[in-house]
């Protein structure tokens, strides 16, 4: 009896599976620009992943509420992957060809970025990694499909070192100083090491590398080392629970939070909120924007979506650091589509290849940004074939116990340091993969 029931249940399940798996590709309506959304709202990194996803989705909804991209409506679908690389790849495979193909994909995970870098050229979908991803992918001649818009980890580390140098009274004063890097032990955390070592060679400071294993709740040993060696500054390259744990450990060790600098993944509300006053004075890199509750676009989204109950996530979150990051990521992609439409036909559906061209020729000046409601939030962005990053500006913000406040001027990462590294690393990649870098003529096409 039991066996029969089991067999029945299994066959039902198999039937269900086959319907679910064949269900997509259903009815084809008027072409909508499809945005696959890879998100993580659960797991150790969920508290940080959720606001990002909310901001991203809200902006897409907002564009739809305003009539779409020159009339082309946006559709999107979320897929939860919990920051696990294999599930992220599964999500990408699931969504990539729905509704005629994805416009662009934002993995929000360096591990998934590495995995997808091999896949997107085949599927012809741009891989936008706004502020993260692999640093050498700035060179669009080799990494045709990768777009680390608004900065990479090398650029982030460079700005942090410039800031520390300025505080010390000049980069030459860094000689003999000790800077510790507390990092998430994954490709993400390891990215800045190359640049820090390069800068250390230039200025004669010492880099201490302190890896923290996933998910980052066990850091006693790391901070014991910091207590023993007393580095002059600590750079924090964490994500999710690792950040708040680091700040709590710093508090317990008595390490001054004023000497701690996080990358933008370590500089948002979820990282410091629980620590409250203990995090006062903690600094982080703001890759252009910080918390922007007063920006025009934030007000617009509040009025268009959240006031009508159509927003994603809690209302208070709108304008927070990670929410803004998701929103800007969406904005850059939408602008890429707009740019593509300028060339391939206004009000038409754009394929991944066309969007790629749009992203590569993005040119957002201050006037356009102000018009979009991003006045005061970010600086102009201009991409090109050789520079898929578009802007190397950033500033520092500090947690004052209740909110993030800007505490520095704008910095620009030093091209003279980063460019040779990018060319070297991307050249090596091209050689390994037998890719012929695009020539300037090919870039124009």
């Amino acid at each position: 009896m039991r066996i029969r029931k089991l067999a029945l249940a299994t066959s039902m399940a198999v039937l269900g599976l086959s319907t679910v798996l064949t269900a997509p590709a259903a009815l084809a309506q008027a072409k909508e620009q499809f945005f696959p959304v890879l998100s993580y709202r659960t797991g150790a990194y969920g508290p940080n992943g959720a606001p990002w996803a909310n901001g991203y989705v809200d902006y897409l909804k907002y564009i739809n509420a305003k009539g779409g991209i020159n009339g082309v409506k946006i559709s999107f679908e979320e897929c939860e992957f919990g920051y696990a690389t294999d599930r992220g790849v599964e999500c990408y495979e699931r969504l990539k060809s729905k509704h005629g193909g994805g416009t662009a994909v934002h993995p929000l995970s360096t591990g998934v970025t590495f995995a997808l870098t091999e896949k997107v050229p085949v599927d012809k979908i741009p891989l936008v990694t706004a502020g993260y991803g692999r640093s050498e992918s700035q060179n669009g001649a080799v990494f045709t499909w990768n777009f680390p818009l608004l900065g990479t980890y090398w650029m982030a580390a460079d700005v942090l070192i410039q800031h520390i140098g300025k505080k010390e009274g000049g980069l030459d004063k860094l000689k003999g100083k000790k800077i510790a890097l507390v990092y998430h032990d994954s490709p993400y955390g390891k990215e800045p090491i190359a640049l820090l070592q390069e800068r250390a060679r230039m200025h004669g400071f010492e880099v201490m590398l302190l890896p923290v294993a996933h998910p980052g709740v066990e850091q006693k040993a790391t901070w014991l080392q910091i207590r023993q060696n007393r580095p002059d500054y600590v750079l924090l390259w964490g994500w999710g629970v690792m950040n708040s744990t680091s700040i709590k450990e710093a508090q317990a060790t008595g390490y001054p939070r004023e000497k701690m600098y996080g990358v933008w993944w370590s500089g948002a509300e979820p990282d410091v909120k629980d620590v409250g006053d203990g995090a006062k004075g903690y600094n982080a890199l703001a890759k252009q924007h910080g918390a922007e509750p007063n920006a025009k676009i934030v007000k617009d989204i509040q009025a268009t979506l959240h006031a009508k109950g159509q927003g994603t996530g809690p209302k208070e979150e709108v304008g927070q650091v990670l929410y803004m990051r998701g929103m800007i990521a969406a904005m850059l992609t939408v602008e890429g589509v707009k740019k593509a439409q300028e060339r391939y036909g206004k009000g038409k559906w754009m394929s991944g290849e066309q969007v790629r061209w749009g992203l590569e020729n993005l040119n957002l000046d201050q006037k356009t940004l102000d018009g979009l409601g991003f006045a005061g939030v970010m600086r102009p962005v201009q991409t090109s074939c050789l520079d898929h990053m578009g802007s190397a500006w950033a500033r520092i913000h500090t947690w004052n116990g209740s909110k993030w406040e800007f505490t520095s001027d704008w910095y620009q990462a030093d091209e003279k340091v980063i460019r040779p590294m990018v060319m070297l690393a991307s050249g090596r990649y091209a050689e390994e993969k037998k890719i012929t870098p695009r020539t300037p003529e090919q870039c124009k096409q």
Binding site: V20, L21, E78, C79, D86, V89, A115, T117, E191, H214
Partner: protein
């Protein structure tokens, strides 16, 4: 009615000892293999191939390797993820450092390296057993995690510690599309499953099982425990290593040590326990259960919610997925502690008598 062996007489030892003594089984398996090779590439779409079937095939291969050690030889291991990592990184280094290294040779060399490492970590099994051995093999996991994160040479000095491969060929066949990847994995799996099945039916497999059931008695009847245990470690690690290399090369094509973390070791052990210890078939069931079910639930629940007009958020789905998955594990282990494979064979027994059970 259809599944009955009346009238199938065996007139030779060879006929009596074949893998599938019942004609229907033989044809069914042949049919499934033929279907997998010929029909699936035509029917399945890209998503099904590259996101579900390829991981399933590779992890089934890994589970098969673990099953030889845990299920047949009775040596519990928590180091399977480490052996996968050794296989993947060794294959990677052979592949990029030796000019013109063929893909298959790199995969097999990766497996051989994993076998050598497996023997080293199998040495404690000569002294300790059961849970203590599990803890000892956990050391392999930590060592591998450490080595591939810290020793730059293994990752070819890649700044981020992530490695990748491209331009894969097998005898002039370019492994490019999802169909190619699927067929390669399937071919490797079929060959290894056949070898494994024959191995456990041969003298060495019987030695393993004797050690598993009672090692003192096995020693008394003349089985060398050292040879039996270490050979089990070697063969198991070899298969797991090849699976690891496939996971890196074919499935991910760009990976970091986190792909072979301790979670992977646990996952493989659970596949063996849920699928059925000491059963080749069980490895497939276990892999299907662990790989396919979460993805299925992840897509089935929103669809189910849609049927009753309920919009389910992705976070809720993800939570529900974990809960239902956990409940199903408990359910199946209560219904049949010997795993899904046992359930399968009970089903077959019943089918033989159907429709006139006692």
């Amino acid at each position: 009615m259809l599944y009955r062996e009346n009238g199938q007489f065996k007139s030779s030892y060879a006929a009596d000892q074949q893998i599938f003594p019942i004609v229907q089984d033989r044809w069914a398996i042949l049919g499934i293999v033929a279907f997998a090779f010929a029909a699936v590439p035509l029917l399945a779409n890209e998503y099904l191939l590259s996101a579900i079937l390829v991981p399933f095939l590779i992890l089934a291969l890994a589970a098969l390797g673990v099953n030889l050690l845990v299920g047949y030889c009775g040596q519990i291991t928590l180091g399977a993820g480490a052996f996968m990592a050794v296989g993947a990184y060794a294959a990677y280094n052979f592949f990029i450092r030796v000019d013109g290294m063929p893909l298959l040779a790199a995969l097999l060399l990766g497996g051989l390296t994993a076998a050598a490492v497996g023997i080293v970590f199998g040495v404690p099994s000569l002294r300790v057993r059961g849970l203590y051995l599990a803890v000892a093999t956990l050391a392999a996991q930590f060592l591998a995690d450490w080595a591939f994160l810290r020793i730059k040479w293994f990752t070819n000095d890649s700044p981020s510690g992530s490695v990748s491969v491209a331009n894969l060929h097998v005898l002039g066949w370019k492994i490019d599309s999802p169909v190619d990847r699927y067929l390669l994995c399937l071919a490797v799996l079929v060959v290894f499953a056949l070898l494994a099945k024959n191995m456990v039916r041969s003298a060495i497999g019987r030695q393993w099982m004797a050690i598993r059931d009672m090692d003192v008695a096995a020693e008394v009847i003349g089985i060398r425990p050292m040879f039996a245990k270490l050979s089990a470690f070697a063969v198991s690690s070899f298969i797991v290593g090849v699976a690891g290399a496939l996971w890196g090369f074919i499935h991910l094509s760009s990976w970091e040590p986190a792909a072979f973390s301790v979670d992977r070791s646990f996952q493989l052990l659970f596949m063996v326990i849920i699928g059925g210890m000491g059963s080749i078939m069980g490895s497939f069931f276990g892999a299907a259960f662990i790989v396919v079910l979460p993805i299925f639930l992840n897509q089935f629940l929103p669809w189910l919610g849609g049927l009753v007009g309920l919009a389910v958020s992705t976070a809720t789905v993800s939570h529900a997925e974990f809960m239902i998955f956990g409940v199903l594990i408990v359910f199946f282990l209560i219904v049949e502690p010997h795993g899904l494979a046992r359930l399968w064979s009970i089903g077959k027994e019943k089918l033989r008598l159907w429709p006139f059970p006692h």
